[in-house]
Point group: C2
Chain length 179, copies 2
DNA sequence: GTCTATAGACCGATAGAC
DNA sequence: GTCTATCGGTCTATAGAC
């Protein structure tokens, strides 16, 4: 899981290109060109394209996992939820160019379903946001909250807005939606 | 714009495959196989892959445009907004497997920015939802509303929910968010 | 860790018969 | 409207030198 400097260059370039062209529209040659090395040098770090996609998805997820862990350490469930939502808003705004495309790419969504690491984070996320209420209303409401945050940051309607303005408005709405 | 039967088969297969594999991850061979013809037969309908992608995006957008036109014919702005939101919820739930992936694919998002038809629909959508208020709050709120609807329907948290339950919950939230 | 060079499959696209 | 056959190019992936 700990990446070497060379692996980090590969993953960073991959995340950027996946957001720009989609996973299926990104070749190893593109990644190599973006870094300024040859394909063979990329293959020295990862043996298949799938491994790169997985590493890129894990790198993005690691940031969410970090926010999640911090939130779980909060005093009360209510404080935990607030901390989590604020952290997710920060994450989404910070990565507004890349997060959305990657989260929605069909190939990566497939990984989400297949690998336990992703499911575990989703379970923790769900538990923190809605506790033990597994009814339809709570599930839809949580899906809306998460989709709204990750989707709104890359919407054309807000493309020309400052990060700070976007963050403030988004957080305000998220708090309202959570009540 | 009016599609022949053969063109319709191509576009329908393309929409399905784009949702499953992404635009960049879908080849003309895949589309041909899905229909049960050869690549050359597909090329007889559309001369390039880009034309197919464009036709697929237009087909999806045409459904939104139809909802938009109906809403614009409503008596008051308030009624128009309500009709529009209800129509969009229906559209999203109906196409919950495909709509989300296609709306977020980087290649199609690029088309959205380049082609006037998409921008026109977006302008009408925006006018109907927020009128002449072009401030940050209104823009973020509208982006949230649209992102929430299109993103929530394909969220893993609601994957096992009935269409009817999902539609009801989603509509309830949308109305609340619109106030 | 990076390179050159290459293998074999698949890509988008075209020609021409039926 | 669909087919067979083919083109040049790019794809993922590997071998082996430095």
């Amino acid at each position: 899981m700990a990446l070497t400097a060379a692996q980090n260059r590969v993953v960073t370039a991959a995340v950027e290109l996946f957001a720009r062209n989609g996973v299926g529209g990104t070749s190893l040659q593109m990644i190599a060109d973006e870094i300024g090395v040859t394909k063979a040098a990329v293959y020295h770090q990862y043996n298949t394209k799938d491994e790169i996609v997985l590493a890129a998805a894990e790198a993005e997820l690691a940031r969410l996992e970090s926010v999640l862990s911090q939130a779980e350490a909060a005093g009360s469930p209510k404080q935990a939820r607030a901390a989590l939502v604020a952290g997710i808003v920060d994450l989404a705004v910070e990565g507004r160019r890349t997060v959305g495309s990657i989260l929605n790419d069909p190939v990566i969504v497939g990984f989400f379903a297949d690998h336990r690491m992703f499911r575990d984070v989703m379970t923790r996320l769900r538990r923190l946001l809605i506790g033990d209420d597994t009814g339809p209303e709570a599930r839809v409401q949580t899906a809306i909250l998460l989709a709204a945050i990750s989707g709104a940051v890359m919407h054309p309607f807000v493309a020309d807005l400052d990060d700070e303005v976007l963050r403030t408005q988004l957080l305000h709405m998220a708090v309202r939606l959570l009540q």
